[in-house]
Subunit: 504 residues, 2 copies
Amino acid sequence: MTLKNTRASNYPEWYQNVITAADMAEVSSSPGCMVIKPWGYGIWERIQRVLDDKIKETGHENCYFPLFIPLSYFQKEAEHVEGFAKEMAIVTHSRLTMQDGKLTPDGKLEEPLIVRPTSETIIADSFSKWVNSYRDLPIMINQWANVVRWEMRPRIFLRTREFLWQEGHTAHADYAEAEQEAKVMLDVYADVAQNALAMPVIKGSKPTHERFPGAVDTYCIEAMMQDGRALQAGTSHFLGQNFAKSADIKFLGKDGKQQYAYTTSWGVSTRLIGGLIMTHADDEGMVVPPKIAPYQVVIVPIIKDKSQSDEVLAYIKKLSAALAQQSYDGEKVRVKIDTRNKESVDKMWEWTRKGAPVVCEIGPRDVQNNALMIRIRHKINTPEWKQVVQFDDFVNTISQRLESIHADLFNAAQSRLQSNQRTDIKTAEEMQAYFEQQNAWIDGPNGKVAFVRGKWSEDPESVEKMKEMKISIRCIPEDQSHEEGLCLLTNKKATLDVIYARAY
Amino acid sequence: MTLKNTRASNYPEWYQNVITAADMAEVSSSPGCMVIKPWGYGIWERIQRVLDDKIKETGHENCYFPLFIPLSYFQKEAEHVEGFAKEMAIVTHSRLTMQDGKLTPDGKLEEPLIVRPTSETIIADSFSKWVNSYRDLPIMINQWANVVRWEMRPRIFLRTREFLWQEGHTAHADYAEAEQEAKVMLDVYADVAQNALAMPVIKGSKPTHERFPGAVDTYCIEAMMQDGRALQAGTSHFLGQNFAKSADIKFLGKDGKQQYAYTTSWGVSTRLIGGLIMTHADDEGMVVPPKIAPYQVVIVPIIKDKSQSDEVLAYIKKLSAALAQQSYDGEKVRVKIDTRNKESVDKMWEWTRKGAPVVCEIGPRDVQNNALMIRIRHKINTPEWKQVVQFDDFVNTISQRLESIHADLFNAAQSRLQSNQRTDIKTAEEMQAYFEQQNAWIDGPNGKVAFVRGKWSEDPESVEKMKEMKISIRCIPEDQSHEEGLCLLTNKKATLDVIYARAY
């Protein structure tokens, strides 16, 4: 039941095939936008629940700020900020009128409104009203929202004109506290990526030319996809006093002096779902890590003779109830009984393509034997995929089984990340030759272009070189050797260790 | 500490004062939009949690559909649907360019995009792709989203250009099933309004001229605000085949014939928070019903001498932990310890204005006595407001105390609703005189213009009359007498019972 395209045969098409096969999302008739379908949205809801709890545990509260930002706010930003992005949706009219039988925009606005691409400016405007004294600080808030960036080459989950995200925004009385906040939130992101999404990441900071416009420092987590490309999975920005100055977030300090606040912002988006797919999915479809699976166990009844239906369904309900009493990752186990009027083998394959961690098939013989057949999704194409287990054994071990699935997924991805970070490339020539190879499925036979860890000299020439090579510095990782070597772009002397890669 | 304006002195200003005093939301610099602040958003999150659980229990799954709807979708609707609303935000450009130092809209779109005012058209477009056979039905989905309607007289929570809501959309193979779905969801809304928001409602259906454009039937719940006006708190539409026909949602039936599906849609919004305020708040500020309070118990330490701080805080933590072990309404009791660096009396008043159901004050003497002082918010200005209770007694009774607060709030609102439904008005002249009176706080001394329950003849003349009188039929309530009487607008013979009122 392999997908039409495999990772080895056509990686980009395979990605789209997984999304369709798992029924997670689809391209919308609204240009460049996606429809997130129940299985995809269910995964997003689980990610939200896990991350939202941690956002609150670390002292933040949720708010909601307007979708529309007056154009003048961007005028200020464009004048002050290099790298100001200009592709955005602009609202210019507020009414439709029928003219010659055709609806036509009317009611021209005095000031055009921008559909938020991110909310620093409009939130800073509120902060400037909320802050008067050091006693009003810190302000630590977050919002879950949709944002719009006018992408010209949309790709579901990775790059769509509208996407969903959370954006945290904080203001602090001093530099160190704000800088620390940005780092704490990066740790939260790394924790969620690794412990909930089973997606190992490299933590680091962006080089100056890759920073968020206006940021003093941009911290990031970078993950490795199965084609060796990097995916920026989350960013946390220490904004210094830059946004405070342009929005006038001023306060009276303990010392009796007026001063500007220090701010941060940080976000992750539905792009994480694209990252999940390219971390865990295989040639049969999606594989969802148990902590964020909408259902962790799906039960498919196998009823050939209608007279056995009551007995089988009663047994399944007993199982479902027993499983739902068990906890995993601090919550009750999530069980779905699939009673739809469809062939049971079709249902089994449907849940396999969706990547439900465990699919159970239960027929009359299982009831007699007090047993069930389980299929462990990520073990497909191995002898361990299909197992017959006893009812009590399955109920009592479900939590360990789910944890072991999580561990398997994390370990596989972790070992991919570790074994595809080249550290033996020493010269610019070697690096050029390396990245001239085609990208392919890096666990397959045909090519292993992935990450290179090496030196960078920071000079402008090196930045130009990267553009030519279509690679980028993904991050300056936290762990630095502090040893001198040669820049892999210019062969100049350099001390900084960086991660070079192609990226999404 | 009474608010600047009271319900009796200036009801509309009182409403704004409550929002400010409780720090729930504020007017944004983005014209006509609001910023929902943590306490307001926290209430919305609780409403979401309660309602979302019920939406899922009744068989729906969450999805997400695009913010932007191509203009052509509305063209179709405008041609087919009477009462098509035209005030909406229109995106016409996709880029900003700097011209003479000024950012200017550029990149004109071939087809303008409408920021969704509601999503029937774009969702019906997806449904038309998802449905082929009767086996694909029903489709039962919901989304939590922001929507935009270009209101000219914005009012926080009640009428803002952007607001948050959920919109459920379903498609069914037959008429009866779809009609039933619309009714089931109305019941869910009534249940949440009454049992979570402690807001009694009248269930009914809208008269033809008040239906959602394109609906066969619009069901609604109507609540009574403290000034006697009605607030439409939720609507559920049975759309028949109207949207299916314009979006071509067709399927092959069991009988082998192509046919159109039957659809429904239903929604509630952040407007409910406006309803909550005008149902429960008093002249001291907000009163939040316990089931949707972000914190049900707030603990304020009273420490005058720093040497007592450790002892008091240890006692408070013990109390908080013991309370958080108790359950109410199926969840752990939500407790907040307010350790901010502020005067404790200011904190107590802050939480009173916010309407936290129970505020505890705890000082060294309480620790010695194993006791605490509690303030029951809605009992303010009565002897029961302040009570000293024993630690164990408070912990063991917290669940009953919260339930009794819920019951008090519901009963007060219920008795207001019941005692302000005039049923003794018998002629158009009496009714005219009744609604010519000024609206005021109906529990106060100055006026009691609220709901009138009486006959309606359904003729066009009566609809004109209501416009003149600035009243409307809020609903045709479920319980009908079926007795003949005189229409309260035209004095013609009529059998239908309706609720007449002024409305938000």
